[in-house]
């Protein structure tokens, strides 16, 4: 066997390069700065070689009489070019291989394939959701011709097929690359898609009696290179070129899939997965992807409120914070509890810990959320930042183990004041009447619920897409949320709210930027020492050795 790091000499468009053994030809070309257009090839899926868009010229070293490569004047092997074009997506490089990505033959092949792909395509770009991010459009401009020689009637195929609850299919747009079929089989392990009929009449469908209803179905929309598979949620909502793209992470489980939030005019239109091989490969689950509509909800809490009798009335931030501070000062430390959330960022949790320390209470915890891990991406821990909450000291080995005692003490009246951060206290088994009995209930949240309605001080905050901050996923990877949209009304960033609460108790602490908060964390937690919030790259930083038992297994 050869050494794992063996480098092979390969000529790409006349220039010799060295690539790692085992590199696909198409990837080697990319590494050499030569993009080879392709449709069916996807680096995370098997290679069927069916679209023929990646045809290139290929050659192997010419062998002399002793079956040894002939060496040319440049000291490199003389390439014996194969007369037929070869696909670059299914073959690994070999020593002395020659590749031409831009020869007349290659250009002719691409032009031919582009023409073939378009003759039966409906060319309905004006009403196609894929327009603007469509490989047919892109490669047509770059490798196709401007006119059409096709005088015949196009093949008719099924349109507007609800192939699953979240995906709509237009078979006339489909170029039969089979990416979706392979994804469902190889990644989602739910082999429901296939082709039926033959030749140019071939079309994509779900197997009889089946639906594309996997929790990973929307990834097929992402990898569909054309507008055949579209998201029923996003369909016809927005032209993609208007979307502002913000790199973020999904906060719906401990995996922390890397995402791109697509927004326009302060409204989120879609979330798509962002490649990160250490976390989610190229994928994310439908559940996490679609869980953003609440951010756009008209119900969002927009104005701080304080209780006056039975009513919550709007007020200013200053008076709301002042009241919150006064309420907390009224009670002994044992009479106060803080219920935080493992959905909060590290920065928010850090300040929460400061708040707890200022109050002096030892009664604090986060609310755990668990489900079944799906052996693909979804983690059993449905909170995104349990590790952060543990590291910062908001909770212990078993998150939520302190909640029962807190609930009992609320019921018994031993606890008289509660700070609830992004969690509905009914999850602790408390009823609205019991919450109303609290002398002080300071709630920081974004949407109304039993707890916000029972608050004495209600402080509207920001959703995951409206804030910067960091979280640590289940595998110990520090990742960063970035702000895609602004919170509604006068709602504020959570960390600022908590900082101001602390200030009510202890006076100014000199923190004006979230970077300062992170610096405090980094200074006191060794794992984070060398880091700053800005220095967490788009793909995160691995803090601790990967936990083998972590549930994400893509």
């Amino acid at each position: 066997m050869s050494a794992p790091n063996e480098l092979l000499n390969v000529q790409v468009d006349g220039v010799w390069h060295q690539f790692q053994k085992g590199t696909r030809v198409i990837e080697a070309c990319a590494q050499a700065g030569k993009f080879v257009p392709h449709y069916c090839y996807h680096p995370k899926l098997s290679s069927p070689g069916n679209c023929r868009m990646c045809l290139i010229e290929m050659g192997m070293p010419r062998l002399g009489p002793e079956r040894k490569p002939e060496i040319g004047a440049d000291g490199k092997p003389v390439v014996n070019w194969i007369p037929r074009p070869q696909i670059s997506c299914a073959q690994d490089i070999a020593e002395g291989m020659g590749i031409r990505t831009d020869s007349p033959m290659v250009r002719e092949c691409r032009e031919g394939v582009m023409e073939f792909l378009l003759i039966n395509h409906p060319l309905d770009c004006p009403i196609c959701d894929q327009a603007g991010e469509c490989h047919l459009q892109e490669y047509s401009v770059e490798f196709g011709t401007s006119g059409s020689r096709f005088l015949e009637e196009k093949v008719k195929k099924p349109k507007r097929v609800e192939i699953g609850p979240r995906v709509t299919l237009d078979d006339e747009r489909c170029i039969l690359c089979s990416r979706c079929i392979r994804f469902m089989k190889e990644v989602a392990h739910d082999d429901v898609l296939g082709f039926v009929s033959r030749g140019s009449h071939t079309y994509l469908t779900a197997h009889p009696g089946k639906l594309l209803d996997s929790n990973y179905s929307l990834n097929t929309v992402d990898i569909c290179p054309v507008g055949a598979l579209t998201s029923s949620d996003f369909r016809f909502k927005m032209r993609v070129w208007f979307l502002k793209e913000t790199k973020s992470i999904c906060t719906n489980c401990g995996t922390g899939c890397n995402t791109i939030i697509g927004s326009r005019q302060n409204e989120i239109y879609r979330q798509t997965p962002r490649e990160n091989d250490a976390v989610n490969s190229d994928w994310m689950c439908d559940y996490g992807r679609l869980k953003f509509h609440y951010v756009n909800s008209p119900e969002r809490l927009k104005t701080p409120q304080i209780r006056e009798g039975h009513e919550l009335v709007d007020t200013t931030w200053n008076s709301a914070l002042l009241k919150a501070g006064e309420e907390l000062k009224r009670f002994q430390k044992d009479e106060i509890a803080v219920v935080a959330s493992a959905r909060m960022t590290n920065e928010e949790l850090w300040l929460t810990k400061k708040l707890i320390d200022s109050v002096g209470t030892s009664q604090h915890d986060v609310v755990p959320r668990t489900g079944e891990a799906d052996q693909i991406l979804m983690s059993a821990d449905r909170n995104p930042n349990t590790l952060g909450a543990q590291l910062i000291g908001l909770t212990g080995e078993k998150p939520g183990s302190g909640l029962k005692e807190i609930a009992e003490k609320i019921r018994s009246g031993a606890i008289k004041a509660v700070v609830a951060l992004g969690e509905n206290l009914t999850k602790l088994g408390l009823g609205a009447d019991e919450l109303k009995k609290l002398a002080a209930l300071i709630v920081v949240d974004i949407l109304p619920n039993e707890t916000t309605r029972s608050a004495t001080v209600l402080l509207p905050s920001s959703a995951f897409s409206e804030k910067r901050g960091s979280m640590i996923n289940i595998k110990g990877r520090l990742q960063r949320l970035n702000r895609a949209t602004q919170p509604p009304g006068t709602a504020r960033d959570d960390w600022e709210i908590i900082r101001d609460l602390i200030q009510q108790l202890t006076g100014s602490n000199g923190i004006y930027l979230i970077e300062d908060v992170f610096k405090q964390i980094a200074d006191s937690i060794p794992d984070l020492n060398a880091l700053s919030l800005s220095r967490i790259s788009d793909k995160g930083v691995q803090l601790v050795e990967e936990n083998e038992e972590a549930s994400a297994t893509v």
């Binding site: 069916n50 023929r52 073939f116 005088l151 015949e152 030749g199």
Partner: protein, 459 residues
């Protein structure tokens, strides 16, 4: 079918077709055994597998399915001592238009095929073999099942065959009716229960990654029958039949505009196209003249009666002499047909006389390939139907000036750019018809519509 018995032409050498239409011949094992059947199997067991492989190499036998790949070389790709099982598949998916030879072997002489297969399995150490028979041959499948049962009863299949220590089972696998299942990797996919999408090569060469990703040999029916005779007379003796590099006999299936179409077996290269048409098949219909011949199944490039070919022949003293010959003087063998720009293919000779309209003929072929394209890869999927739509439109009077150029460039954009040889199979007819009969296509394109000038119809 069996009622239309006919005697062999005196110029034929019937080895593979010896028993086809033979008076008194039946396709049961008793008849076969009375005629000396399974004697070659007994002889084969006295040889070692490498010896048989070597005999096949020496024989020069080339595949009779279409590509003409040397059989011994193919077998040689199976490396002995591998950890995976080896499979042998008999390709009985005979579907190339113009070809009707394998069905006669299956219907009338199934034990010849089985004997050839058992010997071949022994040679490549396959313990499990399949006969992949096209779905349109239901009777053939029944006959094969019966023949297999008979062979089992007689101990030619099963455990420790004839005390040799060699075990083998053969099963019939019926296709569901697709031309592409004759492509060996498409056939394998089909057997694995999938759509018969041909595999990309590399890496999926059947001898390395075949059925269930195990080493697999896929041979045509006629090819496997030849193995029996190679064992009987030895590779060297077999190689004396026919011509160098074109050894043995070949069953030719003649159809089209001849007086006496049918199947004939000759030494490879032992007969010219003219002799086949005029001497064997009774010539053309009265008053007609020869226009074109497709020599090796519908995908082979058409040859025009007007063509002149320069071919080199080796003299007895070893020197090469170049002769110019016409279509009728072309000997029917692998190398000569390749040298004149077509191929021996599957042995289906389609004869066309001067009444045949070439646009019609090409459209007929295009229709077939558009219908049979599996649709896996882009150029063939889209191009085959496009070509058909153009020729159909031309036929219906909707031709336009650029049609001939478009047709040619569509075909050029398919050939050589697809996953399997279907790309060539569907492009070669268009390329060759246009090369040989361009003026007819130009004239048809110019001919204005008689009636409404309708253009295309849905395929």
């Amino acid at each position: 079918m069996a009622s239309t018995t006919r005697t062999a032409h005196p110029r034929e050498r019937r080895i593979i077709f010896k028993n086809i239409d033979r008076p008194g011949w039946t396709n049961d094992i008793d008849c076969y055994l009375q005629d000396g059947g399974y004697e070659e199997l007994k002889k084969a067991f006295t040889l070692t597998p490498p010896q048989i492989v070597n005999e096949v190499k020496v024989s020069g036998l080339r595949g009779r399915g279409g590509a003409g790949f040397p059989c011994g070389v193919k077998w040689g790709f199976i490396k002995p001592g591998g950890s995976k099982p080896v499979y042998l598949i008999c390709n009985a998916d005979e579907s190339e238009p113009g070809t009707f030879k394998d069905r006669y072997i299956i219907h009338q002489d199934p034990h010849q095929l089985l004997e050839g297969m058992i010997i071949s399995c022994y040679a490549v150490n396959a313990r499990l073999a399949y006969i992949y028979i096209r779905g349109e041959f239901p009777e053939g499948a029944i006959i094969l099942e019966r023949a297999l049962a008979e062979a089992r009863q007689h101990g030619f299949l099963g455990k420790n065959i004839l005390g040799s220590g060699f075990d083998l089972e053969i099963y019939v696998f019926r296709g569901a009716g697709a031309y592409i299942c004759g492509e060996e990797t498409g056939l394998i996919e089909s057997m694995e229960g999938k759509r018969p999408y041909p595999r990309i090569k590399p890496p999926y060469f059947p001898a390395v990654l075949g059925l269930y990703l195990c080493p697999t040999i896929v041979n045509n029916v006629e090819t496997l029958c030849n193995i029996k005779y190679i064992v009987r007379i030895g590779g060297a003796e077999y190689a004396k039949i026919g011509k160098p590099n074109n050894t043995g006999t070949r069953v030719l299936c003649v159809s089209g505009d001849v007086q006496r179409p049918g199947y004939f077996e000759f030494d490879v290269g032992g007969i010219t196209m003219g002799e086949l048409i005029y001497d064997i098949c009774g010539g053309l219909k009265p008053g007609r003249s020869l226009k074109a011949v497709i020599p090796g199944g519908s995908s082979a490039k058409v040859m025009s009666a007007k063509d002149r070919y320069k071919i080199k022949t080796k003299q007895s003293d070893g020197t090469m002499v170049e002769n110019e010959i016409g279509l009728e003087d072309v000997p029917i063998d692998f190398d000569t047909l390749a040298a004149v720009g077509s191929m021996a293919g599957s042995g289906g000779v389609i004869v066309m006389d001067d009444t045949r309209e070439m646009v019609w003929a090409l459209n007929n072929i295009n229709e077939f390939y558009a219908h049979e394209s599996c649709g896996q890869c882009t150029p063939c999927r889209e191009g085959s139907l496009w070509m058909k739509k153009i020729t159909e439109r031309m036929l219906h009077g909707g031709g336009v000036e650029q049609d001939t150029d478009t047709l040619k460039s569509v075909a050029d954009n398919i050939a050589g750019r697809t996953i399997c040889a279907f790309g060539e199979a569907c492009a070669w007819p268009t390329q060759s018809f246009l090369a040989k009969f361009r003026e007819e296509f130009v004239a048809t394109a110019d001919r204005k519509a008689n009636g409404n000038g309708s253009t295309s119809t849905n395929h």
